[in-house]
């Protein structure tokens, strides 16, 4: 038995069959329940865990159709919708689909279930709740007739609306149908008419899928579960070849793919694959999947194996059709081919090393050296052009953090003569500078960066020709009385 704490003390939120048999009901105060039954096992309810479990179940159900939508709070949060339009015939019709679903729910999860198929989500919901048979398939167009005998609870209304209707003597849904709509619209929240219209299909009810439905999807059920990585990769490659036909027909290529591995015990492993150029190359994708699976724990805990494998294109982008033989002669064919090979290389590297490890330099309009550029993961977009090189001294290597150093200078705001960095003393034989880099005052005014002192940068060279980039922080007299020195970069 699960309890929820609310106004007036803890109440029963959910119970099992034994508790029901003992005469308990949901919504009763816990104190009453204790009086009625002797041995109660009481646990606080955990909505987050319920939600996660329902999500997992809905994810599992994507093996039937890509659109699985777990019920939210207003639907009771204890089931999910499956949009089986166009998917039922793959299982031999709606009845066999329901039979398969109930068999698997029983076998994998040990869950009792009530299933219904109808033309609208509202009717399906009502039938699954209130129809005497646990497995219902409603023929098309009979929603009104099927709903009529059901109690008004079947309309998914707020408790206040329900109570008001009952007070007025409306006990079943049918009594609402043949009344004029205007008085209802005036007296009740808009929800009432909306729910009726949704149940009868006069109003659309959008479903929020548990995962975004893919654009292209290919799924294969296996008679014998597979365990090895090679088998998964081989199967994925075959699925991709099936998808390729559709992709080619629509002149698109995949930019992102999701491989779903349905385990025998009901868990679903998903592998997401991103590509930097749209592709239809099955071999390339199989290779990426192989690399990804190598680093993934999915293969290690395959359990009793995977009974179904699905491959879905979650992002597609147009690819102009090309004729390989003809364009090979053309002048620009080499470039296109090179670009494609480069994208394939970047995909491979990203897949094995992680998307954050393949990066590109991007210039940022800033005077402060450490803010003047950023490393961005390569994502397929062409890089922003860099400005033409300026006549400024910039080091080849920039230290991650400027390191404090001891400096001897002839005059306080002159160039350094000697400095000690990382325990080694360097005699300065030549220097260039200073280059004064002031802080970005416009950022200070916005208030999201603390004011930093002005820096005077020097390029200094020691007797052996090593060149360093040093700066003195703070202007004498105005900003500081004892300036500090830092090493910020290396030239050679």
């Amino acid at each position: 038995m699960l309890v929820v704490t609310g106004a007036g003390g803890p109440r029963i939120a959910a119970l099992n069959e034994a508790a029901e048999a003992a005469g308990l009901a949901c919504g009763e105060p816990l104190a009453d329940a204790r009086a009625k039954a002797e041995f109660l096992q009481i646990r606080p309810i955990d909505p987050a865990a319920d939600d996660a479990a329902l999500r997992r179940l809905a994810l599992w159900a994507t093996r039937y159709t890509p659109t699985a939508s777990p019920w939210g709070e207003e639907n009771g949060a204890d089931g999910f919708f499956l949009d089986v339009a166009g998917a039922a015939h793959l299982f031999g019709g709606e009845e066999p689909l329901l039979a398969d679903l109930s068999w698997r729910l029983e076998k994998n999860f040990g869950l009792p279930m009530r299933l219904a198929v109808a033309d609208t989500p509202g009717t399906a919901w009502a039938l699954s709740r209130f129809h005497p048979s646990p497995c219902t398939v409603l023929p098309s167009g009979e929603e009104a007739a099927a709903l009529k005998p059901l109690p008004i609870e079947a309309l998914r209304l707020a408790p206040e609306t329900r109570a008001a209707l009952r007070r007025l003597g409306f006990k079943s849904v049918g009594t609402l149908f043949d009344k004029p709509r205007a008085p209802f619209a005036a007296r009740f929240p808009a929800e009432l008419l909306r729910r009726i219209d949704q149940a009868l299909g006069r109003l659309d009810e959008p479903l929020v899928p548990v995962v975004a439905p893919p654009l292209y999807h290919s799924l294969r059920y296996l008679l014998e579960p597979i365990v090895t990585q090679e088998a998964v990769v081989a199967l994925a490659s075959r699925l991709m070849r099936t998808l390729m036909l559709v992709l080619t027909r629509n002149d698109v290529g995949a930019r992102a793919l999701r491989l779903s591995l349905y385990r025998v015990d009901g868990a679903v492993e998903t592998v997401d694959i991103g590509l930097s150029l749209p592709t239809r190359d099955a071999a390339h994708i199989a290779r990426l999947i192989d690399l990804k699976l190598e680093t993934l724990a999915a293969m290690r805990d395959a359990g009793f194996g995977f009974e179904a494998v699905g491959l879905a294109v979650t992002r597609a982008e147009p690819v102009p059709a090309r004729q390989a033989e003809l364009t090979a002669i053309a002048e620009d064919a080499g470039d296109t081919d090179k670009a494609e090979r480069c994208a394939a290389l970047i995909d491979t590297l990203r897949q094995r090393l992680g998307p954050q490890s393949v990066r590109r330099f991007e210039a940022i309009a800033s005077h402060v050296p450490e803010r003047a550029e950023v490393l961005r993961p390569v994502n397929g977009e062409p890089p922003a052009p860099w400005p033409a090189p300026e006549q400024k001294t910039r080091p080849l290597l920039l230290l991650p953090h400027a390191e404090p150093t001891e400096v001897t200078a002839l005059i306080p705001d002159g160039p350094p003569r000697r400095f000690c960095w990382r325990g080694v003393t360097y005699e300065v034989t030549g220097s260039e500078g200073p280059e004064r880099i002031a802080n970005e005052w416009w950022l200070n005014r916005a208030g999201h960066r603390s004011a930093k002192p002005t820096r005077d940068y020097y390029l200094v060279e020691d007797a052996d020709g090593r060149r360093f980039w040093l700066y003195r922080e703070g202007l004498y007299g105005r900003e500081t009385t004892s300036a500090r020195w830092f090493v910020h970069g290396l030239f050679a």
Partner: protein, 191 residues
């Protein structure tokens, strides 16, 4: 620094990327490559793709992968230890792909390898202008190993105005001491 250049001629490359594979720990003590600094030396940082690895195996794998794809204009890698067998493997991959492969290594890690050439690059004192200020950065190149070629030493300098490296015109520089200039000149002639 070692370079494993293929025997074949290099095709002109304009916008193909350069791949630099470096371990995440490799250059930590010396920071990371700085785009504006590379830009100042004439290398467009927009072309450079930085690949960071966490292990030496990954570095080797990424280098081979980049070479096999044949897509980049050149591949460079920073690697600490490399035995002869692995270097042969990389050399073979570079030759097959017809791409230049540069292995950038710190001087203390040098062991024998199958690379076609080995350059030792050291900083050198910059050229001074007539006021005694730093004018042009210089490097001292030492070609220690060269298959089918002669080894030699050079002094190169970078001209910021013309954006090119050139052999240091040592004699034209009045600020350098005479002995040093003679030595530099002699090396150029020997090469």
């Amino acid at each position: 620094m070692q370079s494993t250049a293929p025997q074949g001629e290099r095709e002109p490359t304009n916008r193909r990327p350069l791949i630099l594979v470096m371990p995440a720990y490799g250059l930590r003590a010396y920071g990371r490559p700085y785009g504006h600094g590379l830009n100042a030396l004439g290398l467009d940082p927009g072309r450079l793709i930085l690949v960071e690895t966490t292990h030496r195996h990954e570095t080797l794998w990424a280098l081979e992968e980049a070479l096999h794809s044949g897509a980049p204009a050149a591949v460079a890698g920073i690697i600490d230890k490399l035995d002869l067998r692995l270097s042969q493997r990389l050399q073979l991959a570079a030759t097959d792909a017809g791409l230049p492969l540069f292995l950038l290594r710190q001087a203390q890690f040098l062991e024998s390898s199958a690379a076609a050439t080995r350059w030792r690059i050291a900083p050198a004192r910059a050229a001074r202008d007539r006021f005694g200020l730093l004018a042009r950065a210089r490097w001292h190149l030492n070609l220690e190993r060269c298959r089918n070629g002669r080894v030699g030493e050079w002094m190169v300098e970078y001209d910021h105005v013309a954006h090119r490296f050139s052999l240091a015109a040592a004699l034209a520089d009045p600020a350098l001491p005479r002995r040093a200039s003679e030595r530099a000149f002699g090396k150029i002639r020997r090469a």
